[in-house]
């Protein structure tokens, strides 16, 4: 059995909700990791890509019409998503829709902002039969059940509901979209990446509204020469519309910096974090690869790790995340590192605080060490 979503939870009929995942975001902060892929297809958590989290959350909440807005470097994302089969989104009715950036074919190619991507695909939004839409982004890792938030949206008669989380710790190098609410959770202020005057509540970048309202806002913004979804379409309407926040209290990681990416991966080693993420609400789906189970060989020393299938481990691995098909040769030592799929670590090599992208080969006896707050990143297919 794939899953048993209860489509109606507390009267929330999710058949009437579509979703758009906005991949037209600036992804340059992930540096080498997004050199050849979009943010949505950045590997995360031993066997996932970032897109798996929002997609699985939507499907587990009963949403069956999902559009993916694309901007650049989406080959790896398309390869990962395919027809959406892994998420049960290969449907005759509804299902997964790829929304490419049609505007890049226009004579005036200067990119104005993500509202342009919405506008390029306005037909899809109009044609969808659902009355409501959830707009999300791929860089928030969480296991969210949208049904509660949707029920709140309808019952409170909101124009826009923004899911937020209250943070205790803010990373210095990470950009946040922060919000301020009154005592009733009405959003009275919202800022994208402020340098001063932070609020403790951060937007999870999930917005619920009526589809007709989205269409009106897009039309309104574009006709005024405004192209930014968050700054113009949302923040620009805080005074005119009834915009409320819905608190999310379980684990969430906003991936907005290399360090944040690195720390969020290692954070998964805390049992309460991976339990929140993997065992609460629905499962997180990903493209199956038919890897064999992982082989821990004689003499292996593996502690406090998350590992995907297909690995062959002989050396010492501690406090690390191993993606599919990683090979660790005898005598190698790996500490506090994120090792992506098909990477190979040679005999007696030493890695500490590093991120190895896919297919990196570390030859024997090499030693690489980054800092706890500045991991060393080795680009895809590099031979060291």
């Amino acid at each position: 059995m794939m899953m048993t979503p209860i489509y109606k939870k507390g009267g929330a009929n999710m058949n009437n909700v579509m979703a758009i995942i906005n991949n037209a975001l600036d992804e340059s902060f992930l540096d080498k990791l997004t050199g050849h892929r979009s943010l949505a297809s950045v590997p995360f958590g031993a066997r996932y890509r970032l897109i798996d989290f929002p997609l699985s959350n939507l499907v587990n909440s009963g949403v069956t019409n999902v559009g993916l807005l694309l901007q650049t470097k989406y080959r790896s994302l398309m390869d990962h998503i395919g027809f959406g089969k892994a998420w049960d989104l290969d449907r005759k009715r509804n299902g997964l829709f790829i929304l490419p950036p049609a505007h890049i074919y226009q004579a005036n190619r200067a990119y104005k902002g993500d509202l342009q991507n919405f506008a390029s695909n306005i037909d899809y939004i109009k044609r969808s039969t659902q009355e409501y839409v959830i707009i999300g982004s791929p860089n928030v890792v969480a296991n969210i059940d949208y049904r509660d938030a949707f029920k709140y949206h309808v019952e409170n008669d909101n124009d826009i509901t923004i899911i937020y989380r209250e943070l205790d710790v803010f990373r210095r190098d990470t950009t946040y979209t922060v919000i301020n609410t009154d005592d009733n959770d009405r959003i009275i202020d919202m800022k994208v990446d402020p340098k001063k005057n932070f609020y403790k509540k951060i937007s999870m970048q999930k917005y619920i509204m009526k589809k007709e309202l989205l269409l009106d806002i897009i039309d309104d913004c574009i006709s005024k020469g405004e192209w930014d979804f968050v700054k113009n379409a949302i923040i620009g309407n805080l005074d005119n519309l009834k915009v409320y926040g819905y608190p999310f209290r379980s684990y969430a990681a906003v991936i907005n910096s290399i360090n944040g990416y690195y720390k969020s991966n290692l954070e998964l080693l805390k049992p309460n974090v991976w339990q929140d993420l993997f065992l609460k609400n629905g499962p997180i789906y990903t493209k199956p690869k038919d890897e064999a189970p992982t082989a821990y060989k004689n003499g292996v020393n593996a502690r406090n790790i998350l590992a995907a299938n297909g690995c062959s481990i002989k050396g010492e691995v501690k406090n690390s995340i191993l993606f599919r098909g990683v090979k660790v040769h005898p005598g190698a030592v790996i500490k506090n590192s994120v090792i992506m799929q098909k990477s190979e670590i040679g005999e007696n090599a030493y890695l500490e605080n590093v991120i190895l992208d896919k297919g990196v080969q570390i030859t024997a006896d090499k030693s690489l060490k980054g800092d706890t707050n500045l991991p060393m990143i080795i680009a895809k297919n590099t031979i060291v």
Binding site: M2, G45, A46, R47, K85, A86, L269, P271, W274, L277, F278, L279, P283, I284, Y285, T286, P288, D290, E291, A292, P293, T294, A295, Y296, K297, N298, G299, V300, A302, R303, N304, I305, L306, A307, A308, N309, G310, S312, I321, G325
Partner: protein, 397 residues
């Protein structure tokens, strides 16, 4: 339907009596294997990897799990417009219906299915052997030898020949005689239960046998092959030189799992050139805690290891609590092993709960003092209460 050169017929109706509690609720080909798979994944994946895209799966005994497992066949890339995988249970015809009496009768009752694809050759496989084999190479051999029937064979140790069907061959690999479980074997080539038939001949003999003899056991080994042999059809032996295991008994099932471990396992499941596909349950990555001790083991996703695991194979969803010790054992999916429990030389079924401080297979039972290894088996869904002591060689369930 476009013509297919070779259609595979996979015999998957077996009850697997000797596997005892492991096949209480499922057909033998549905028995879990190798931390991730079920037995039927091996022949199905071999078909896909060999370029065979039309596969009939003949089911009979407790087919529910097997049927839903096969589904549309997409897991093995066998969801095709033409052919693909088709589950073929016994069915009712105008004159009534009957169960499959034997292996050959199962094929006979599905002549219609094979005729739709109009193949030159039919590959007959069984659903309960563990091996990786390129059937396309066997077909090439079959054609090169101008054979009517080719039989996959394996060199077995001479002292074990009495357990197998032995093929006596001439220097050209032509089979000149069969000996079923011979006392004094003349050869050590044992049948692997893999046959390529020229469909035209097989079709003729199946019909003749069924029409001539109502009481026929409908069995390849007893009815069809001896008759073909008597008529001097060309039989050739195709020698397979890689890992092959019949996991028909508790001991061989356990042993085949141990064969997956070690420095260079005889059966390499991680070989990306010959992937064994499976339905691939979606589970989170495996978690090894700060206190975990894992050595020489094969572990699937969705497991949580807080204790000690040595020389063992763990299926998905298994949880080994702190201070629990699992050694030389096979733990099937979603089984929970509580703290202080000790398990050795055992096969523990699905969804079993082993409560605190239980011992399984640790102490020898008094009556079995002989040195031979006794495998302890716990059936599916059992609860082993706190501080139980299940002695070596016992079967629970």
């Amino acid at each position: 339907m476009p013509k297919e050169e070779m259609v595979a017929m996979l015999l998957a109706g077996g009850k697997g009596t000797r596997l005892g509690v492991l096949t209480k609720n499922i057909a033998k080909p549905a028995v879990p294997f190798g931390a991730e798979y079920r037995l039927i994944d091996f022949p199905l994946s071999n078909c896909t990897n060999s370029g065979i895209t039309t596969v009939g799966v003949l089911t009979q005994y407790k087919p529910l799990v097997l049927n839903s497992y096969i589904g549309s066949g997409s897991s093995w890339d066998l969801d095709r417009h033409n052919g693909g995988v088709t589950v073929l249970p016994p069915y009712v015809k105008e004159g009534g219906g009957s169960w499959y009496k034997g292996t050959a009768d199962a094929i006979y009752q599905n002549i219609e299915f094979i005729d739709i694809h109009d193949p030159e050759y039919v590959l007959v496989l069984s659903g309960d052997h563990i091996y990786k084999m390129d059937y396309a190479e066997m077909l090439n051999y079959h054609k090169a030898k101008n054979a009517d029937i080719s039989i996959g064979v394996l060199e077995v140790p001479w002292e074990e020949t009495h357990r197998f069907g032995i093929m006596n061959t001439n220097e050209d690999q032509k089979i000149i005689e069969f000996q079923e479980k011979p006392e004094n074997a003349k050869n050590n080539l044992a049948s692997m239960g893999i046959y390529i038939f020229n469909w035209e001949y097989l079709r003729k003999y199946l019909i003749e046998e069924a029409e001539a003899n109502d009481d026929s056991a409908g069995d390849f080994g007893h009815n069809i092959i001896p008759k073909m042999m008597a008529d001097n059809l060309n039989f050739y032996a195709y020698t397979f030189r890689d890992y092959w295991k019949d996991v028909g008994t508790i001991e061989s099932y356990w042993q085949a799992h141990m064969d997956l471990l070690g420095e260079k396992p005889e059966l390499d499941l991680q070989d990306r050139n010959w992937v064994i596909y499976s339905v691939n349950p979606n589970r989170p990555p495996q978690y090894l805690s700060e206190d975990a001790v894992v050595d020489n083991s094969m572990i699937n996703k969705g497991t949580q290891i807080m204790g000690t695991v040595k020389n063992s194979v763990l299926f998905y969803g298994v949880k080994v609590a702190q201070d629990a010790v699992v050694e030389d054992s096979v733990i099937l999916p979603n089984t929970r092993i509580s703290s202080g429990a000790q398990i050795k030389n055992s096969i523990v079924g699905r969804n079993v709960i082993v409560e605190k401080d239980s011992k399984i297979g640790i102490e020898a039972a008094e009556e079995n003092t002989e040195a031979e290894l006794k495998i302890t088996v716990i059936g599916d869904d059992e609860v082993i209460p706190e501080a139980s002591n299940i002695k070596a060689g016992m079967v629970v369930g």
